[in-house]
Symmetry: C2
DNA sequence: TAGTCATTTCTGGTATACAATATTCCAGTT
DNA sequence: AACTGGAATATTGTATACCAGAAATGACTA
């Protein structure tokens, strides 16, 4: 069942003494183009679809939103196959749901599901905080504080609406700083879901003030490498949001 | 996170007052044909492939293991399309990697990646422990203890080799008991990866003894609803494994 | 004999055709 | 007018054909 073919295709035709084989000289090319044009149609369709869905403000209405594979394929100018593969990916990430011979529908998270998302986020980010106190270099933590003071106060002054986005970015930065790819990838997905709900989340001035204080405490704990405290502050901050949603987010469901 | 919701296609045309609409009387028909869940080829291929990969003991050798779409499709007696879709799913879960015009290869986690997996697991399970102390009913926690005493001591006596599997099941039970689907789904994937590595993990008698003591402490903390302590014990238990891997698992890489 | 280069083969990516089934709508009947 | 039955339609699931590019192969040359 599994073509167990060891050592089958491994020659590489590269000689040891540095003499060029085919290319002029790879070592002279200064590591350019680390990013190749990677995108297959499937990837492009995935990105385009995801952006479209995120930008859709799906919680505004309750009406079912159906995505038509063929129409999308036409609009993108490609065939159904890559669109389908992108859809499958989005389905496994919880953004759409495919009903066998009915159609593909955009998923709205229920209140309970949102709370579960936030709770999982709390778990991941508090571990990230722990890792940061143990491993991160001072410079990175400092950059967090810089970002905080620049961004946060500015955005708050600008518009309360935009605070949620800045807020998400702050937490995303913490997770990224953990250096743990598994945590990062898992959280990335959660945050994307959060961004979709963000628009409907009413942010009161009080909550923003408290949130900023929380963030400041978190940064301080990280700077002082207070593992337990950082972990706890991060966790409680997120769980506080979960409780807020539990109480006031009746617009879900 | 997973597939279609079976409750989606359930209209059933039942009215409240018991009067028959179309059927002679729905209540008289004894709930026949509750489920007829013929899964798609894609699903079947996914399950078959995943089982095959997990059963493969890929860490025994270092040789690249390539999976041939066409051959697999032939072996399954289906076309490439559902096999490809299953592969895409497995790729997004980190079990295989598709190299554009080279082939699809089974992924071996590096030591660093394994440690990241375990760390993420620690995050998820410690949150699960917290949730259990807050929400679970006593009966469930009691069942955990029952399972522990039955299983664990028995398996230990039977074979040290099998301990790892029982160990994983214990932790999986904790996560499931949290009732948080997001945590559960994320962890399910992690545990599957852990099962693949399990075979190569040398378990010494000492470690098993300590592990069992840890488990017992965890159960006690859960029973007493000691949130902080349960959380901490679970986290440290998992992180202890991560450290063990860091020190002794040079067979990875 | 060793190396080079063209050709052939093999791979996943994509497009398209076909199949199966749920839904919709309309005609015919009572 | 209401209901039944079925055909037309719409939609995903699956199979197949084709494409581009990389690797393997083998002939040819120095």
């Amino acid at each position: 069942m599994t073509k167990f073919d060891p050592s089958a295709r491994r020659s590489r035709a590269r000689n040891r003494n540095g003499a060029p084989t085919v290319q002029p000289d790879a070592t002279l090319q200064p590591a350019l183009a680390p990013i190749e044009a990677t995108s297959s149609f499937k990837q492009k369709a995935y990105v385009a679809l995801k952006n479209a869905i995120v930008a859709m403000d799906i919680y505004r209405s309750r009406a079912d939103i159906r995505l038509d594979e063929r129409k999308l394929a036409q609009d993108f100018g490609i065939s159904r196959t890559p669109v389908r593969e992108a859809m499958a990916q989005l389905e496994s990430e919880g953004f759409v749901r495919s009903v066998p011979r009915r159609g593909i529908y955009v998923v709205r998270k229920t209140k309970r599901e949102v709370i579960e998302l936030i709770t999982a986020w709390a778990a991941l980010e508090s571990m990230a905080a722990r890792l940061i106190t143990e491993n991160a270099i001072d410079a990175d933590i400092a950059s967090l504080r810089r970002m905080f003071t620049t961004f946060e106060s500015g955005a708050l002054r600008a518009h309360l609406d935009e605070y949620s986005e800045v807020n998400i970015e702050f937490h995303q930065s913490i997770i990224r700083m953990s250096g743990n790819r598994v945590l990062i990838d898992m959280a990335e997905n959660l945050f994307t879901h959060m961004r979709m709900i963000r628009r409907k989340t009413i942010v009161e001035k009080d909550r923003v003030d408290r949130s900023i204080r929380d963030h400041m405490s978190i940064i301080e704990a990280l700077e002082k490498r207070e593992t337990a405290r950082a972990e706890q502050l991060v966790r409680d901050h997120a769980l506080g949001l979960a409780e807020h949603v539990e109480r006031y987010a009746d617009y879900l469901d």
